[in-house]
Symmetry: C2
Subunit: 108 residues, 2 copies
DNA sequence: GTAACGTGCAACCTTCAGGTTGCCCATTAT
DNA sequence: ATAATGGGCAACCTGAAGGTTGCACGTTAC
């Protein structure tokens, strides 16, 4: 089930998608056409990005009339952040253990 | 220079690379051959992954004799984590502002 | 010395990501 | 009713990611 992590990190790997997420976080909601107006790509490209973000669970679509507004659903961001923090913590733990061990031994 | 974010998130998007990072965090150092023994890919594939991780600034190589040991350099992980936290914080801030602004419209 | 081991590098293959154009459907405006 | 707008879907193109095999070089062991 770490497939979710794949989807999330892959989603975050593209600058256009990060821009979309930042915009949604700041503005609340946005439509594909709005976003395409602020990016150097076509509306269809933005739609693809939104589809990917939706597949990763990072955005939520909601049609109102003929336009569809997308909203941020930041849950999976937490999973990604947690993974990073965990690895960092394990590294720090190992480092301090090593340092503790070195104060008696004095070798690498 | 958010190019760094591209490299880091791209690096984290692959499960084999995440395994490498987790292993380095837990074990301290590892060689390409060691890692290849624990992954369903060839040593050369692992070497490519390590090259990518190095380009992202996530690992550090150090040759000792005929083997080269890789070590985690978690700095860029902090940048990635910071980006995520920032977006999450902006979203939360917007949410609470919205909630403060309207106390009646609890429909979703 | 010669053999074996650990690496890195280059060439190649296949799959997929990001973009584009083109078409069609639903909704709003005139 | 007709035109225009917003959106999604499909086909197609191009470049790069992930993998493999093969080879060449430095290092350790016999």
């Amino acid at each position: 089930m770490p497939d979710r992590l794949n989807a999330v990190f892959s989603a975050l790997a593209d600058p256009h998608r990060r821009y979309v997420l930042e915009t949604l976080a700041r503005r609340g909601t946005a439509t594909p056409t709005e976003l395409a107006g602020e990016l150097p790509v076509t509306r269809q490209a933005v739609a693809k990005h939104l589809g990917l973000l939706h597949a990763a669970g990072l955005v939520d679509r909601r049609r109102s009339g003929r336009e569809s507004r997308y909203r941020l659903t930041p849950g999976p961001l937490g999973e990604a952040s947690t993974w990073i923090e965990r690895v960092g913590a394990e590294w720090d733990g190992r480092l301090s253990a090593l340092r503790r061990h070195l104060e008696a031994d004095g070798r690498d």
